[in-house]
């Protein structure tokens, strides 16, 4: 379980997160919604300890996220992150990018088993094997993004944080990615946080929706509840997304 308790984070005088609390259990898919710039990416970065909160805490499987490198490494082994930027390493091939986590966290010991894992995760994400020897610069942005999803999956994490996994994808790929997320939660029992602007997906398969507004949780609850919510931002989001 990921437990986020009263998390606050400011940059200079600007308070980006203000006492944000929620939980994510195994097999659960939590969607985080909010306007651009509200602090969704900052929230995810606080969860895996890339940013340090000013106050409040994050616990993942009863380990508290600190600035201690050894603890962080332990936590990051079980909690993967897909960044808003694809964040592939430009100087490494797709194959080497996919193997980075396996090397860093030493989950597999032989090159052969790492290569095998790289191929199988690529396939799981619906990507062709021919990508393996390509470099990030040869791929489109969305393709890079999908490879970065595969890179996080290669570690078989118990929790996954997705920062806008479908932004920019065509409807078919969006559906495919959503299906993958659902599959991971249901079959592999992964606890998942998805930051997204995709209202339809949120309402259809989120177990829980967290709506951030001005640093606070303006709404928290299931998709059906969200649809009936009177929270002004929720109402306007629904209206603009034409989800009724």
């Amino acid at each position: 379980m990921i437990e986020i308790r009263e998390l606050s984070k400011s940059f200079g005088t600007r308070k980006v997160l203000d006492k944000v609390s929620f939980e994510v259990g195994a097999s659960e898919v939590v969607f985080v919604l909010g306007k651009s710039g509200v602090g969704k990416s900052v929230l995810l970065k606080n969860i895996v300890g890339i940013l340090e909160p000013d106050s409040g805490s994050v616990r993942i499987e009863s380990k508290t996220v600190t600035s201690d490198r050894a603890v962080l490494k332990e936590i990051r082994k079980t909690c993967g992150m897909v960044f808003q930027f694809p964040a592939l390493i430009d100087s490494l091939s797709v194959k080497e990018n996919l193997k980075l986590g396996l090397r860093g966290h030493q989950t597999l010991d032989s090159e052969a088993s790492m290569n095998e894992k790289a191929i199988s995760t690529l396939k799981l994400c619906g990507l062709p094997e021919s990508l393996l020897e390509k470099f990030p610069a040869d791929l489109s942005f969305t393709m890079q993004k999908r490879v970065s999803v595969a890179r996080a999956l290669a570690l078989d994490p118990k929790f996954l944080l997705f920062d806008e996994p479908t932004t920019g994808l065509d409807p078919v790929l969006t559906a495919q990615t959503n299906e993958l997320i659902r599959h991971l939660a249901k079959v592999s029992r992964v606890g998942i946080i998805v930051v997204s602007h995709d209202m339809t997906s949120a309402i259809h398969f989120a177990h829980k929706i967290i709506l951030l507004e001005e640093g606070r949780v303006a709404f928290s609850g299931g998709g059906e509840e969200f649809r009936k919510s009177k929270v002004p931002l929720a109402v306007s989001f629904l209206k603009e997304a034409h989800v009724f």
């Binding site: 970065k45 890339i50 990051r76 992150m81 390493i89 986590g101």
Partner: protein, 259 residues
Amino acid sequence: MSSNYFVAGIQEIGQVAIFFTRLTGIFFRKGVRIRDIVHQMFEAGVRSVPITVTSGLFVGAIMAIQINEQLKDFGAQSFLGGLTTSVTIRDVGPVLIGFLLSGKVGAYTIAELGTMKVTDQVAALECLGIDALEFIVLPRLVAVFISSFLLLVVGLTLTVFGGAYFSMLALQINVQNYMNNVPQLITTASIVVGVVKSLLFGMLIGVISCYKGYTTVGGAEGVGKSVKNGSVLILVWIVILDFGISTLSRLIQEIFGVL
């Protein structure tokens, strides 16, 4: 306000020192992969060869013209080669070529690391259990240090030829005569000072560019800022270090009678 800048400046020196200590620690504990260094040296160093060669030759030529102006009033032009070479290698050469490299090797490294930082490549590595300092910063530091040092040495050597060639071409001075008193006036001391400066400037360019790149925040705009601030910082420190080393070498000379 100005005292704030001063305090911030001092703090930054402290942070750079901590950063450097961490990297040295990793270097001695874990070493660094030769393949990564070679790759980076090619990226940042080899591309700077043409510019270093050109500027080396011209710096030599410019110094020869200036010193010739002074010497000819005393009819002492026979010392031109020796004086030009000595002054260029000790002082003007390292500074000017160092400036050039800060804009080329330094800026390249800051931009590259800065881009990796603001596009979350650095954070992604950390999430994948890889120490970004060890994996991407250290190889760059070593590569920038080695390439800057080598480029400085090449550039300095070429100043000698630039001076000689230009003296022959434009000042109608016989190359033989020009070179004649080079060995007399250019002492071991000049060479030592030149090499020491090249080593330190190389290290300076490496450390500051890696630090500025690695600590970049704020998107593409932030990368631009880091490149600008970093390059200027390197220039300032080259001048300060140059002054320091020159003063120190003079002191050593006075006290021990060498250098």
